[in-house]
């Protein structure tokens, strides 16, 4: 139990997916200008990440390893993720139109989001068991939402700040991210 809590905490703060592993930077910079968009994207990523990690984990353990074709990992994973995103989109559209309205526009973007493939591969290379995989992926996803939300609030304020011309847009956003990363890395020492 202690191990699981430590794993959750590490995934959430110390090994934060954006600020220390550099995965999912594109949505981090692209969709973080408004709070509502950041939350929508965050939950869409958490959702897809969790499902695709589960599917790829099971596939890897019970198909690829059994057949001894581990080298097919990258190809199999990306195909699984691309088709899963498509399936999730169709499924949500049919079952829950309001949810589709909230998440729909973010779903196609997620296929090329390196966070989803990255976490699927990390779960394999770190040798997680099924429970560890679910906990790790959930907290990585929550960490993603948390940072996206904080960052979008700062960016809303940045619009009114007198930023030098060359720094406007992405450069100043990166410098804000640097300050956030310093804060998050200090939490790493706790566990």
């Amino acid at each position: 139990m202690e191990k699981i809590i430590a794993l959750a905490f590490t995934a959430f703060i110390a090994e934060n997916i954006i600020l220390s592993q550099f995965l999912g930077i594109c949505p981090f910079l692209g969709v973080s200008k408004k709070r509502s968009n950041a939350l929508g994207m965050g939950f869409a990523v958490l959702f897809v990440m969790l499902i695709s990690s589960m599917v790829t984990w099971v596939l890897y353990k019970y198909v690829l390893e059994v057949l001894e074709i581990e080298y097919m990992r990258t190809i199999v994973f990306i195909i699984v993720i691309a088709s899963l995103v498509q399936m999730v989109e169709t499924f949500i559209k049919k079952v829950s139109p309001p949810l589709y309205k909230a998440l729909g526009i973010y779903l196609p973007l997620i296929t090329t989001n390196c966070a989803v493939l990255g976490v699927a591969i990390l779960n394999i290379s770190k040798g997680h068991s099924f429970v560890e995989m679910v906990v790790y992926t959930t907290f990585i996803g929550l960490g993603f939402i948390f940072v996206m939300y904080i960052f979008s609030m700062i960016r809303e304020k940045l619009d009114n700040a007198p930023v030098p011309k060359a720094f406007q847009g992405i450069p100043i956003a990166l410098i804000v991210a640097a300050i956030l990363a310093i804060i998050f890395s200090r939490f790493g020492g706790i566990f």
């Binding site: 550099f22 990258t74 195909i79 591969i121 100043i172």
Partner: protein, 220 residues
């Protein structure tokens, strides 16, 4: 466009990292040393050139193109993923230390926006030779950009520049001359964001200056 223009536009004018801001994740993550940056650049060069070549060969054949068009994105992804698997295997066999330090970012070349972006925006509608030249130019532009970030970070963070393997340029003297230690933060994650932000701002500032100059020249 001439061959030379196709080759050179990726280096400065349409630099994938500094101008289009594509492929951020690997460039932030692997720019801890020049060696890692060059290794990543080599991987991207191979994948980008080959995927541009294969995709433009597929798309310039009319029969195949008609077949592939409705499902082109999955087709591109499978082509790219296969090439990435080749890179992964070759690096694992011959460059094991580089393979370990790049880690998860080698398979993640698959979702590097530069590669899919060039496939869709250039290779699918241009001739094979042009696509290869475009791929070489873009990949070299990407490599040069991460190399600049890596030199900046490694020099400030460790006082050294690791070119390749044991070939390390030691510049710690510069720090002892001023009387300070290298600033360790620059090789940590926070330093990646900070360095990229500062370098990007410098690139934007230079670009703005040039634009102003051109505008002035046109007014005269």
């Amino acid at each position: 466009m001439t061959n030379k223009e196709n080759l050179l536009k990726g280096l400065v004018k349409e630099n994938p990292l500094f101008v289009s801001v594509l492929g951020m994740c690997p460039s932030l993550a692997v720019s801890t040393s020049l060696e890692n940056a060059l290794g990543m650049g080599m991987g991207v060069l191979f994948v980008l050139v080959m995927s541009n070549l294969i995709i433009s060969l597929i798309m310039s054949n009319e029969k195949l193109a008609a077949l592939v068009k409705p499902v082109r994105i999955p087709v591109y992804i499978v082509v790219i993923a296969t090439l990435v698997t080749i890179v992964e295997m070759v690096m694992h066999a011959f460059l094991i230390s580089l393979y370990n330090s790049l880690g998860v970012f080698i398979p993640l070349i698959v979702v590097n926006c530069i590669i899919l972006g060039r496939a869709e925006a250039f290779a699918s509608s241009n001739k094979p030779l042009d696509s290869v030249l475009d791929g070489i130019g873009m990949a070299l532009g990407f490599t040069a950009a991460i190399a600049i970030i890596a030199i900046f970070r490694e020099f400030l963070g460790k006082g050294t520049i690791t070119v390749w393997g044991n070939l390390v340029i030691n510049l710690k003297g510069a720090f002892t001359f001023i009387g300070i230690e290298p600033i360790g933060m620059f090789v940590q994650p926070a330093g990646a964001f900070l360095s990229f932000g500062l370098i990007l701002a410098a690139v934007v500032a230079i670009g703005n200056k040039r634009k102003e100059k051109l505008a002035k020249g046109a007014a005269k």
